[in-house]
């Protein structure tokens, strides 16, 4: 019944046997015990489960674990640039600008924002809001999330200029 898969998650290779119906989000949470990726709905609507697969933001509640076979996954646990606790500018931005309250939507928000900044390093407020259309936050009213992403964008642009 199990299907063997190999995936790289946050730079580390994993081998596992998965039931075909296991969702990628449950593979991450239950099998690999990386619980930073959350489940907030049944319909691919809330974005709490947003991760990157092969460099693109995707909703891990709407992908089967078997479909990730051979793929590269990045989750919130892999956001630290040195893998050693240094915060990514987005993580820093969310803290500095109070972009989170209960924290449940935060990993998905950060992963969605990371995908945006890769495509558009200098987004306008409207572009940021548009890019978050697949992610619900019920705590912040999005105001400080927008500011958090602007903070990160500013910082990342400066790093590029100086680095």
């Amino acid at each position: 019944m199990g299907v063997p898969i190999q995936v790289t998650v946050n730079g580390k290779p994993y081998k596992a046997e998965v039931e075909p119906r296991q969702l990628l989000v449950h593979f991450l949470r239950d099998t690999l015990r990386m619980t930073g990726t959350h489940v907030g709905c049944d319909t691919s609507s809330c974005g709490a489960c947003t991760i990157h697969m092969n460099g693109e933001a995707v909703k891990s509640c709407t992908i089967l674990a078997v479909q990730a076979d051979g793929g590269e996954i990045k989750t919130i646990e892999g956001m630290s640039p040195d893998g050693n606790g240094t915060l990514h500018p987005l993580q820093e931005g969310f803290k500095e600008e109070h972009g989170l309250q209960c924290g449940f939507c935060t990993p998905g928000m950060i992963m969605a924002a990371d995908a945006l900044l890769k495509e558009n390093p200098n987004p306008s407020e409207t572009e940021i809001r548009h890019a978050l259309e697949g992610n619900f936050c019920r705590c912040t009213g999005y105001h400080n999330i927008v500011k958090s992403i602007q903070y990160a964008a500013d910082k990342m642009r400066k790093e590029v200029t100086h680095g």
Partner: protein
């Protein structure tokens, strides 16, 4: 949310997929982007025994121009289509449509073929594709069939696709160099599907409308061409008055959908508003 159990089959090629379809029979479902199918399976509204995953078939994930023809592989994602320079320059309304589907993560997975096979009346693409006179290329055990989209879409979640066939391509003539096109959408606020989507492609020649194609998504059980609007435009002066007169006929004879987001009266009104907006953008 947990789906019922199923066997998973990964198809590497179209031939593979067809073979698997033949083997698995009626209880198989094709998995493309999965954004309609997997939620339906989680809610157990859909309980296939076999899932044939075509999302990894590279031979159907392409966008290219062949002569005068724009070819979109069924496996092209909404993001592929929105970002394609071929689509942007040769069928701008299709790129616009793709960019308005779902959200960025959905656009990274959802595919052209998946949308057409599912035939959700609220889907965005059909309006633009009808206005582009697109054809659907399907493959089955008997070979290839090319079906005009207008004939392919049969009704609510119903298409001309046989159970042993898969969609491999959508093709259309590239937009004439003097034509302008757009897709305008009034969103269902929760799902971000369309409540009304209107695509328009218009050619204006020396102040007169020489050609006009107007189509709607999400207004009726299936997307349709608004030929009365088109006829009221063709040959007329390119003016606001022409547009206003033409859009009055937008839903003549159409049984307009009604749901808790929009009654049929309101949806019919929106169809006219969005037709006017689309036409004003291109005339």
């Amino acid at each position: 949310m947990i789906t019922t159990a199923f066997s998973y089959h990964k198809a590497g090629t179209v031939a593979d997929a067809l073979k698997l379809l033949a083997e698995c029979g009626d209880d198989a479902k094709i998995l493309a982007g999965g954004h309609s199918l997997i939620p339906a399976m989680k809610l157990r509204l859909n309980q296939p025994e076999h899932l044939i995953d075509i999302s990894g078939i590279s031979e159907i994930r392409y966008i290219r121009c062949e002569g005068n023809s724009l070819r979109v592989g069924a496996g092209a994602t909404h993001a592929d289509i929105a970002n394609s320079s071929d689509v942007q320059s040769h069928m701008p309304m299709l790129a616009e449509t793709a960019a308005l589907i779902g959200d960025p993560a959905v656009r990274n997975k959802g595919t052209m073929g998946g949308v057409l096979a599912h035939a959700d009346p609220a889907a965005d693409y059909p309006a633009a594709l009808l206005a582009a006179d697109a054809e659907v290329v399907v493959q089955g055990p008997g070979g290839e069939r090319i079906i005009a989209l207008e004939n392919f879409l049969l009704g609510l979640f119903d298409t001309d696709l046989a159970e042993n066939e898969i969609i491999v391509e959508v093709r259309m003539n590239i937009s004439p160099s003097n034509a302008k096109s757009t897709y305008q959408k009034f969103m269902q606020p929760a799902s971000r599907y369309a409540i009304v989507g209107c695509a328009a492609m218009v050619t204006v020649d020396q102040g007169r409308i020489s050609d006009a194609k107007v189509a709607f998504s999400s207004v009726a059980e299936k997307a349709f061409r608004a030929r009365e609007v088109e006829n009221a435009l063709k040959g007329q002066e390119a003016s606001e008055a022409t547009i206003k007169a033409a859009v009055k006929n937008a839903v003549n004879g159409v049984e307009v959908l009604s749901d808790h987001f929009a009654s049929s009266e309101y949806r019919g009104h929106l169809a006219k508003v969005y037709a006017e907006r689309a036409l004003k953008a291109v005339i």
